[in-house]
Structure formats: structure tokens, C-alpha cells
Amino acid sequence: MEHIRTPKVENVRLVDRVSPKKAALGTLYLTATHVIFVENSPDTRKETWILHSQISTIEKQATTATGCPLLIRCKNFQIIQLIIPQERDCHDVYISLIRLARPVKYEELYCFSFNPMLDKEEREQGWVLIDLSEEYKRMGLPNHHWQLSDVNRDYRASICRSSQPLSGFSARCLEDEQMLQAIRKANPGSDFVYVVDTRPKLNAMANRAAGKGYENEDNYSNIKFQFIGIENIHVMRNSLQKMLEVCELKSPSMSDFLWGLENSGWLRHIKAIMDAGIFIAKAVSEEGASVLVHCSDGWDRTAQVCSVASLLLDPHYRTLKGFMVLIEKDWISFGHKFNHRYGNLDGDPKEISPVIDQFIECVWQLMEQFPCAFEFNERFLIHIQHHIYSCQFGNFLCNSQKERRELKIQERTYSLWAHLWKNRADYLNPLFRADHSQTQGTLHLPTAPCNFMYKFWSGMYNRFEKGMQPRQSVTDYLMAVKEETQQLEEELEALEERLEKIQKVQLNCTKVKSKQSEPSKHSGFSTSDNSIANTPQDYSGNTKSFPSRSPSQGDEDSALILTQDNLKSSDPDLSANSDQESGVEDLSCRSPSGGEHAPSEDSGKDRDSDEAVFLTA
């Protein structure tokens, strides 16, 4: 709290990035964990919350007649432009935020103050949700000296990972050579091992001068050595920076955009990672060969490539829980340096690099290719990306398991996985088909990799520019339909049950009638007396319940109407969006004449809800 110079500034304007003339007037609050902007407009009181840990850069721009502009860029690609009337206030906010966005101790991070109102037990359960020893058991690996991920039990081929050998120009290590032999022998299906170095060859050679390097094929028997040129973290950082500059352009032309995108090299890097993953997956699944993957340190490119390969090979990782396991295994437990890479604590800016962002984008690119193969949806990826930077949960703190243990993370913070699991309904892909032939086993990408497979992910990098996103979400729509279907099916079941009862009663009635007309048959039935006694009661009960409906059914009914409302409420959203979206404003400088777009009541919808009521009645 001592870093907050001014907790509250009034009459601040939040500039709409798409149409700068539209700015919301409101009050800015600084808290220990968030920047909060509350709009003055009484009917909306819209709040914008930004976590300090999400802040990437803060830029104070030249004061103008209207005030002092402050530009905040976030790590989740949100860009906030504020105009603060007094230069002095602006300066105070600026200085405070600079400090708040660069915490020096882990204890300052949000996860140590975040309390989702769970008791101790629930928190502990959250941490054991993803258990890696379970995972290794699942893979059929009791104990192994290697950090091994056997993803293909049939071939017994495996993907292994390490850091680069410290070979220099001529050094060798017999034990290391024997170990590779052991890996090869562990897989009787193949007589060689692929060693994949994910660096460009030039970089690997340069490393030799520093006493590091790569495996010499002469020293290691039966290895096939392969370089895959994925650039280092510094190149990736600059590439992302360049791409974000393109995203920030105000109404760029198509050429500006495509040229900038190409120039950033971002998609080329994504493709390089994917190609490496595809290469390894093919080696394992088609050639049945084991693969040893390394880069320089073995925690960045290696993690990317191994996890892409795992996703391609093993359908388990394409499920909600499996994906959490994958991140837990390949990233968290193998010492990916989250703190350094994502700048959670103030540190060396040269260590920061979007390594896991790239992996997450690779997953998205795969989801675009295989829309039915993943149990989770785009939102799941976006939320994970958000929380890697948010520090709201303890999972991604620190640089290694060792540090996390020392900090007692599990006792003091909450686990993201539990949070995501609890809300899993939001993250399900309605198109997921576990039983589809395409989604079982290894995912096979088309043999000739086409460049147009890789697309710009506006859902991620422009995700706060709502006007640029598709206005209707197929995922949400399908989820709503699914939910509705389920409710209707339950309804149907209940009605069928009741119908059965009614038929029984009617049957009994006719029996009774027939009994009365033919008393001679009566003697054989001993239960008929009971049924006669029960009949009127049940019957009348049923007739009564018909118009008014029994309480349980009434509940279901209102739930159904609720979903109808939910569906409907997406419509005003739509029209609200259409008022502020980019398209209209971009077209000409004239502001659209005030005529607000009345969300006209849609007759089609009405008919729909009538139908629904009809069905439930």
C-alpha cells in the first residue's frame, strides 16, 4: 500500500481504442492489486479491472489540452488509454503503477492475497487435482531415471528430453553415450534414436565455442541427428513485439497488416515449432523410433516441441484434464522458468519471452485444423494464458519446483486447475467427439503442409477489440442448444413416465369396465381390488396436475424459460455491439447520427419461446 501515491482520481476518461472520439468518463482507483476504472454513466457503471501483474508497459504521453494521456499495455494484450485531467495526478498514477507492476518479492503477488472463499480442505484438494505420479502410471512408467514421457506404448518408442551436451569441440561423456544406448535398447522396435536439436544449426555450433554444443554422430552409436531451426527467446520476444505493433495500428490497410504480420515473423516461428512437433510425432508413431529432444537449456524450445508432439500423439492430452497434466508435466515440473519468462517479479527484461504463449497458439492452430479433436475450447486457452501472467493462482510462480516448495506455494495459494475444473462447463468444446476416427490416436496433418494453415489469432491478440471478433459465438450457441436439449430430454422422460402411468390407469379403467361387464372373469385377479381402489385417486391427481403441473416439473419449466432468456439476452448484446463496433466508425469520419439502434423485438424468437412453452405444457 505504501506504493500508492494517489488512491483515487476523478474525471478520468477511458478512450475507446476503435473510435477515439467516444470516451467514457469515470473514476480511477488504485488498489494494492488492481487498477479499477468505474464509469460515471449511471445506467452502466461499467467497471474495468486490471491486475497490476498484467501490466506490461506504462507510457506517459505528451500533455494535451484535454489532459494527460496514459497508455497501459497489458500482457494479455489489452491496451488501455486513460486521459487524466491534471498532469500531477497523472504523474502520481504513473509512478505508483511503475512500482506496483514490478513487484520485487513473491509475497507481493496477487495469489498471496487472493481468497476465493474456499476452506483449507478444498484448497488442498485443488492442489492434488493434477497428480503427476498418476500420469506416469497412466503412461505405464513405474520408475525410470529419465524424465521420460512414453506416449506410445505399442511401439515402446519414447520422447526424451534433456539439455545440450557440454561437448565443446571434442569432449565426450561415456555415461551419456551409454544412456542414449539404453534409450535405444528400451525400444526394441527400432535400431536407432533420433536426437533432435531444436536450435538453428548455426546457434548450436556457436555454443560449441562455449564448451557446449551437440552430439557428435561418431561418438554415439545408432543415432540420427536432426537440427530444427527454432529461434531463441530474444528473437521470439522481438517478433511478438513487432506483431503487437501491427495489432495496435489504427485502421491499417490490408497491405499494412499483412506486410507487418509477415515482417514480424511470428507465424513463421509458430510454424517452426509445429513442424518440429510434427516431425517428432511422426518419428514416434510412424517409424517407431525414440526421440531425444534438447535445445540449449532444455526448458523452452524443448518444452514447446515435446508438448506439441504429445498433443498430436496422445488423445488424453487433448482433454480438459489431460491438457492441465501436460502443462503441469512438461512445463511446471520440468523447470520452465515462469518467473523469468513472464516477468512476474521485476527482473532482467532480456529473460522475458512468450515461450508458453507460442505453445498455446500452436494448440489453437491445431484446434482450427481439428475442430472436433479437443475437449476444451478457445476460451480455455485464453484463460490459461491470462493466468500465467495474472499471478492470481500459485501454479505458475517461481522458476522451478524447488523454489515453489521453499515458498510453500501449496499452503499459501490456490491452484488454477481447481478453478478451471470447477468452471469446466465454460471451457468445453461442444464439437468434441472422442469417438470420431479423426480424433482418436495420432492427429495426422495433411502430408503437404500448406502455409495457409497458419492463421493470425485475432481471438487472442485482438481479444479486447470486441468489434473485430465474430459477433456470434458458435461455441456459446451450441452449448446453449445442448443444455436446452438436455432439459427437453429430461422433460420428455418425465412426460413419458407420466404417460405410462396414465396408460396404466386407463388400462385399469378398461379392465374395470370389462370386469364389470363380464363378472365371470373377475375371480382370477387378486390385485384388481387394489387397483380399483387406487384408480380414482391417481386419475384425479393426474388431471389436476395437468394444467397446474407438479412442483418438480414447474421447476424444470422455469429453468427452460431461463435458458430461453439467456438465448434472447444475447441479442441485445448483439445490437449493443453493433452500435460500438469498428465497422461503422471506420467507414467515414462522420459520426453516425444519434439514432440509437432499438433492439427490435424479434418475432422469430417469440415464436420459438411459444414453441418451447408449447412443448413443456
Partner: protein, 497 residues
């Protein structure tokens, strides 16, 4: 039968067919008057039937006595046939070449096609101008149907029946026609029921360098304005191009003569620039090299997405004028048969929920493209692979379909039809067994007696069994105006094509 003369070798055995993403098929190749057929003669494998008119270009090469023909289709497919025997191969190649470049329209397949289905509804009568007129005549009495073009004498590229302001008589229309390019006097394209505003379209005014004017023309378009209201004229050329057009007798509306109208120039490219753009795009898509940067720069160099953005922006502007500004608009470029139609039809997609249904979209294509005189025959004569470039070939209609796809992608639940419907329309515009897209305008279609001699595409599409393939399961009627985003980030490449 003249086809027999063109077919030098009707049948070759042991031909191997290669297609991308499919396993190779060996079988017998047959040539008929209109089709190239490859059958493996096994029950379970499908046969390839390819219309000769779908063939855009062919290449042949030889390795020993094995000849290879590479056929590039107008729908961008590339197939390869390995034919044993050099002579057979040469014969087949020259036969295909001859059959795919028939001069006479009446030799085309639609004139020989006999439908295998029962015609429930004759598509030639599905969308009559009278019916379309009834849709808005209940809301307004300011418009009438005019039969002034009954014999195609006033404007050869207009249909016999057009909708014009009620206060303007046929005599005035004849005079206006002499003042507009190609006789294309301003006619009604769309009536916005919500506020009574309209979209009109026409050819450019023939003002020339001396600023000719036409009182009837001014009266006609002013008749569409309410008292005290202003309208917008959207010229689909840049001001520069419009000014240059004056030297050739064309021009634009002078403000002095049309004081109630504001002119906006929204440049949309035309003709060979679009064709070259398509050629570059398809080239880039077929490039198998594994280099990401080259792909993006090729995509950029093709300018295809730039054209998409231009067209969508102009259409959004038109829709904005109508719905938000409450102003009527007149749209024209030079001839009023290409970019004009892209803008008028896309504006209707944005404004009018009906045009987002299957039937409404068919009606839109019938009204705004076929009857409005978009020269399909000329524009779609060749596609991306052809070397002999003619200046009138242009993927104008394909660009329109791509724009519709872009809007569909942004509003996936607001369209009754799906992507397959758009692709089907694209394929039939370039090569079809149906007569719908033959000819350049209604007058030519009349002379060809298409209605009597060929089958309408709509007769086939509108069968329940076929419709189900084109229906979007997510459709939920959305009566709102939909505003698409035109930011580059929102406009990806249409992979389906």
C-alpha cells in the same frame, strides 16, 4: 454430331488419376461431348466426372511413352492424368482442348442436360419481378413497375421489367437512358422498410467534358427524396478515375446540377486487376514451398484481401447511409454491372434479414446479378489458370461470394445457408449443367431461349433433399441489421475456396 469429330480418342484404359488429398485411382478414361469421365470399374470407388467447360488450362508432358496431362479447373482443382501411350495422350489432350473451348453457347452442356430428378418447382419462374415488387408495394406507393424495356430497346442489359419512381413516366425514362452509360437509367435496387429509404443503381452519367446535363435524370433521382432530405451518390471509382472518364464521354453528377445529393467516392478495383489478383492468390495457395514469409508476402501481393476490404467497406457505408443517416442512395461506377452490384447486393445482406435466408439469397442473386445484367458469360469465361487473358474476365461474382462468407463468418448464426451454398454458386457460375448463369443479360438469355431449352439451377437447388446440404444448422432468424467489421484482423482467407 459435331462432337464426334472433336473426340479423337474416346477411350483409354489404364489411366492413373492423381488428385491432391486423394489416393491415386487407376481406371478407364472416357471422353464424351461434355464430360471427361474416369472410372475404376469397381463398385466401391467413385468415378470422376468433369465438365469440359470446367477446364481452365491443360499442360502435358512426357516421360518416355508415359504421357501426363495436368488439368487445371476453373474451381481451382488441379488433377493429373497419367496416360500410357504418347499418341493417346496427345489425342486426349487436343480433344479436351477443343471441347473445353467451344465457341457456341448452344453447344454447351445445359442445352443437352436432361435432369434425373422430378421438377417440383420451375426455377425459371421462382423469382419473378412482379412477386418481388409485391414485397414492398404494400409499404409504399411511390414506386411502379415499368415495362419500357419490354423489347430490350431502351437498355439491352436490363430486364424487361424494372421498378422506377411512380411520378416518372416511360417517356422520361427513355430520355434518361440516353444520358446514362449503356442506357442503364437509375432503377430501384432495394427498399428499406424500416424508414422508406432506397438504394438505386445505374450506369455513369454521360456528362462528357462539357458538363452535359439531363433534366429528366435530375428529376428522376430527386423524385426518390423526401421533402428537405438529402441523398448520397456512391461512386465506386476514385475521383480521379471518374474525372478521367469525362474524356471518354462518361463522368459523374455535378454538384451544381444535383444540389440535394452528396457524392462519395469509394474506389473498388475492376476487370483485369481483379483477375490478376485472383491468379496471384491461387498461385500463392498452390505454392508448396514450406516458407511462411513467402506465403504472407504473396498473399499480400495478390491484394485479394484488400479488394475484399474495399468492397465490404463500400457496402457497409451504403448500409450506414440507409439505416443510420436515413438517406437514400444512388450507386454507380462506370457501367453499373460489376462493382455497383457488389455494393448493392452486400448492402442488402447487411440490411435485410430476408436476403440472409436461402430463398432470399437466391432472389437477391436473380435480381441483383442475373436480371441486373452482370455479364456472367464474359466475366466467368476463364479462371485463375488461363494464359490467354481477356480484359473482360474478372472474378467479380467470386469476390461478392467471398464477402458474403466474411459476413457469415462474423455472424455464424444469422444465415440460413452455409459455406457450401456459396461454393456451389461459385462452381455453377463457372461451369454448370444448368442454364441459369449462361449469357450476359436477360436479352441474351431470351434469344437463347434458355427457359425452354435448359434447366434452371434453382429447380435443382430448391428440392428438399438438396437444400438440406446447404442449410446452416445454427440459423436463428435475426431481424437486426448486422454490422460486420472490416478491420484486417477480422478478414481471414476463405480456405473453402
Amino acid at each position: 454430331m459435331e462432337f464426334a469429330e472433336l473426340i479423337k480418342t474416346p477411350r483409354v484404359d489404364n489411366v492413373v488419376l492423381h488428385r491432391p488429398f486423394y489416393p491415386a485411382v487407376e481406371g478407364t478414361l472416357c471422353l464424351t461431348g461434355h464430360h471427361l469421365i474416369l472410372s475404376s470399374r469397381q463398385d466401391n470407388t467413385e468415378e470422376l466426372w468433369l465438365l469440359h467447360s470446367n477446364i481452365d488450362a491443360i499442360d502435358k508432358r512426357f516421360v518416355g511413352s508415359l504421357g501426363t496431362i495436368i488439368i487445371k479447373c476453373k474451381d481451382f482443382r488441379i488433377i493429373q492424368l497419367d496416360i500410357p501411350g504418347m499418341e493417346e495422350c496427345l489425342n486426349i489432350a487436343s480433344s479436351i482442348e477443343a471441347l473445353s473451348t467451344l465457341d457456341s453457347i448452344t453447344l454447351m452442356y445445359p442445352f443437352f442436360y436432361r435432369p434425373m430428378f422430378e421438377v417440383i418447382e420451375d426455377g425459371w419462374h421462382s423469382f419473378l419481378p412482379e412477386q418481388e415488387f409485391e414485397l414492398y408495394s404494400s409499404a409504399t406507393s411511390e414506386w411502379r413497375l415499368s415495362y419500357v424495356n419490354k423489347e430490350f430497346a431502351v437498355c439491352p442489359s436490363y430486364p424487361p421489367i424494372v421498378t422506377v419512381p411512380k411520378s416518372i413516366d416511360d417517356e422520361a425514362l427513355r430520355k434518361v437512358a440516353t444520358f446514362r452509360h449503356g442506357g442503364r437509367f437509375p432503377v430501384l435496387s432495394y427498399y428499406h422498410k424500416k424508414n422508406g429509404m432506397v438504394i438505386m443503381r445505374s450506369g455513369q452519367p454521360l456528362t462528357g467534358t462539357n458538363g452535359r446535363r439531363c433534366k429528366e435524370d435530375e428529376k428522376l433521382i430527386n423524385a426518390t427524396l423526401r421533402a428537405g432530405k438529402r441523398g448520397y451518390i456512391i461512386d465506386t471509382r476514385s475521383l480521379n478515375v471518374a474525372q478521367q472518364a469525362r474524356a471518354k464521354g462518361g463522368g459523374f453528377e455535378q454538384e451544381a446540377h444535383y444540389p440535394q445529393w452528396r457524392r462519395i467516392h469509394k474506389s473498388i478495383e475492376r476487370y483485369h486487376i481483379l483477375q490478376e489478383s485472383l491468379i496471384k492468390l491461387v498461385e500463392a495457395c498452390n505454392d508448396q514451398t514450406h516458407n511462411m514469409d513467402r506465403w504472407l508476402s504473396k498473399l499480400e501481393a495478390s491484394n485479394w484481401l484488400t479488394h475484399i476490404k474495399e468492397i465490404l467497406t463500400a457496402a457497409c457505408l451504403a448500409a450506414q447511409c440507409i439505416d443510420r443517416e436515413g438517406a437514400s442512395i444512388l450507386i454507380h461506377g462506370t457501367e453499373g454491372t460489376d462493382s455497383t452490384l457488389q455494393v448493392t447486393s452486400l448492402a442488402q445482406i447487411i440490411l435485410e434479414p430476408r436476403s440472409r435466408t436461402i430463398r432470399g439469397f437466391e432472389a437477391l442473386i436473380e435480381r441483383e446479378w442475373l436480371q441486373a445484367g452482370h455479364p456472367f458469360q464474359q466475366r466467368c469465361a476463364q479462371s485463375a489458370y488461363c494464359n490467354t487473358k481477356q480484359k473482360w474476365e474478372a472474378p467479380v461474382f467470386l469476390l461478392f461470394l467471398d464477402c458474403v462468407w466474411q459476413i457469415l463468418r462474423q455472424f455464424p448464426c444469422s444465415f440460413e445457408f452455409n459455406e457450401n451454398f456459396l461454393i456451389m454458386l461459385f462452381e455453377h457460375a463457372y461451369a454448370s449443367q444448368f442454364g441459369t448463369f449462361l449469357g450476359n443479360n436477360e436479352s441474351e438469355r431470351c434469344k437463347l431461349k434458355l427457359q425452354q431449352k435448359t434447366m434452371s439451377l434453382w429447380s435443382w437447388v430448391n428440392q428438399p433433399g438438396e437444400l438440406s446440404k446447404f442449410t446452416n444448422p445454427l440459423f436463428e432468424a435475426n431481424n437486426l441489421v448486422i454490422w460486420p467489421s472490416v478491420a484486417p484482423q477480422s478478414l481471414p482467407l476463405w480456405e473453402g475456396i
